[in-house]
């Protein structure tokens, strides 16, 4: 007998039949003795359809109104899910982000949660009703306007609600069976990871793994809320994301590497012929920070003849603005050449056990060299090694590393199946 938060994504509630199946799962959980609070995303492609509608009316809609529009999506799904639960003979009540107490900043489209005051949710549970909360939305503390947390924000809503309710765990239901050791679409031998630490999950999410959003994992880590990622289409337990403390003992037999992530959405900029003197690099990065360009990996080559090259990666979508800022400030910075390359891939291997296992770098570079893959940039953290390669080498790089660290499953990974590992 505990309290669990369930979060269902858009693909889990894509149509009336899916909504009824989700209702069934929620009711089963209640029958088994747990209290459940539910967070739900908009049905299927609703959010994209609403964005299309907005674009038909205005090429650049005001952010406040876009938030008002998009939050209609969860309003629909939560009401329909409450109806489906009621139809099974259980009481359910839907709540908007505002009604559920999600107080946020006023940054429309990317609001941050300031506080969660879920008085009405607690009340509903005490009344024996199942509360259904709209994911992804809140109300601005200052303006009282409706806000959204940004795409994928529903996962964060779920974790924040679980933390505010002091729930026992938060289960994220999606259309895949859990976290895999690599993207099964490019590494068919990827296997499901039964447990993973917050830190590993953060590194995977930050480096291209798509299942969980960085922000949701960070929130879970900060609040110590165990997360379970599982499929709403099966009974598999999925993947538990938890603290390394919880994993002690469990994880002794865990492989050195938890997973290999890849990211094809980055580009690489090289500023050539910068004078190698203090403050030059700082000037470049200050300019880019002022333009709100997110830098990822940064490498500065060894100086030759008093000149050096600075290379960094950034999201492709920030490419144009970064180039414009650099060109405008060519005189101040003082550089000779500027090269932009978006045919690159970032491949990252992540594993908490890496800390205590020497030779991980050696194994990685040997595997890539044997596969004939050239490494253009390298960046490491305590539990991650990332390399930049040609985009066309990404699949082979992921597979080579996956195999080199003994991650390959015996059979092919089955992503949508009900059995899992």
């Amino acid at each position: 007998m505990g309290l669990v938060v369930h979060k269902y994504g858009g693909s889990s509630v894509a149509d009336a039949a899916s909504v009824r199946r989700v209702a069934q799962r929620i009711v089963e959980t209640v029958k088994n003795g747990d209290d459940v609070a539910v967070v739900v995303s908009a049905m299927g492609d609703t959010t994209d359809e609403l964005i299309d509608l907005a674009e038909q009316v205005s090429p650049n809609p005001p952010a406040r109104e876009l938030d008002m529009l998009l939050t209609a999506g969860e309003r629909i799904s939560m009401a329909v899910l409450a109806m489906a639960i009621a139809d099974l003979g259980y009481q359910a009540r839907s709540y908007t982000g505002s009604q559920a107490g999600f107080i946020t900043t006023a940054a429309h489209g990317s609001a941050k949660i300031i506080d969660v005051t879920p008085g009405r949710i607690t009340e509903a549970i005490a009344d024996g009703a199942i509360p259904i909360v709209a994911g992804f939305q809140g109300v601005s503390q200052d303006t009282k306007d409706v806000t959204t947390l940004g795409r994928g924000g529903s996962d964060t809503t779920a974790v924040a609600l679980a933390a505010a309710l002091n729930a026992d765990r938060c289960e994220i239901y999606t259309d895949v069976d859990g976290i895999f050791s690599a993207d099964p679409r490019i590494a068919p031998k990827a296997r499901k990871v039964p447990v993973i630490t917050y830190e590993e999950m953060l590194e995977l999410a930050a480096n291209g793994a798509k299942v969980l959003h960085l922000r949701c994992v960070e929130y879970a880590r900060r609040s110590g809320m165990p997360l379970r990622v599982r499929s709403s289409f099966s009974d598999s337990l999925g993947t538990l994301v938890t603290s390394s403390y919880e994993l002690e003992g469990v994880a002794v037999e865990a492989p050195i590497i938890s997973g290999v992530a890849h990211d094809l959405a980055e580009a690489k900029i090289t500023i050539g012929g910068v004078r190698d003197e203090p403050g030059r690099a700082a000037a470049v990065f200050e300019l880019l920070a002022d333009a709100e360009v997110n830098l990822d990996m940064i490498v500065q080559n060894v100086s030759a003849a008093g000149l050096t090259d600075i290379t960094f990666t950034l999201p492709m979508s920030h490419g144009d603005i970064a180039l414009a800022v650099l060109r405008e400030n060519k005189g101040n910075i003082g550089f000779e050449t500027l090269a932009y390359d978006d045919k690159v891939a970032k491949v990252s291997l992540v594993g908490a056990a890496m800390r205590s296992h020497p030779g991980v770098s050696a194994t990685t570079f040997r595997a890539l060299a044997d596969a004939g893959i050239n490494v253009e940039m390298i960046s490491t953290s305590e539990i991650r090694i990332s390399v930049v390669t040609r985009a066309e080498d990404a699949t082979r790089a992921v597979q080579a590393i996956h195999t080199a660290f003994g991650l390959d499953a015996d059979g092919e990974a089955v992503v949508y199946a009900g059995t899992g590992r």
Copy 2:
């Protein structure tokens, strides 16, 4: 320089192009020097589509959740309209019923407005922004849950907002050019009525005219808010609905009859062989009132041999429950026969000037007799005469009365055109 409330119905904002056209009209009004507050319905068939979705999930969805679901419709239209206005370079801000201060009873699906506290709307206007308010919805005073006012409630929202803002007038934009002297689909010579009193409009709305909802007209009458019904597809001034006081002078040349309404949605029940003694009729009507059956016309025939017949009309949709209640209580009431007939029409002629013109009844019954139409029931008010006929006679009855009172226009009525009268 005044303050006007515009209300746009679903057909006026059916798609992105319509929304842009409505935005243009609002901006034109502002350019001409008026402040505008807008009330908007859900786009096109959105409400029906949401009801379909609910029915796919549950045959009998909880009313609270149905309200939550349906209010998503206005949320979408109001945000999109605000975007379209912003795209024309004017500031617009959308507000839910709750944000706009619509405090209601907790009767989901048919909530009554208790109070309107439009502080945020006044603020928006003071800031130079055009407020867009969701029609048809509010928030329950007691439960803080989202409520709806029932179908067509957006007109009421508009009038209530206009009254609360102390606006100069309220303009209801729809897909017809105003109020017509009869339904142009069955009386092709119907003409647009330029001005009409609240009382006449109430009688027309209560007796089958579809353009304005009874409740909206009643609210306007009570608050003395001038209403203008006009087409969002033309520049015609439409019809002004106002108090008879305002009409003095204007209306001297008005015809005796303002309009002829018809209603095919009623049925007729006759309870035969009731003992003609005090309290029998009261017992019948108390039983029906307890079952929430809405009675319309009631006729009791002259007694013969101590027995009498009671005949009444009621909405067809209430027929089954009325018959069930009567059958169950046959013993208590004491009657011999029970007859149900839904092949009837109610035709009503309405005109404030009727009061001072004798012979209106005579002209009416002469016209119907000349057309060979049998009158089954008669009911009159100070400014209305209603008759019940066979359903198949309805069109000819409307036309005969329309002609008899000299209402026929020279040409055929043009409903959707831009010129109007």
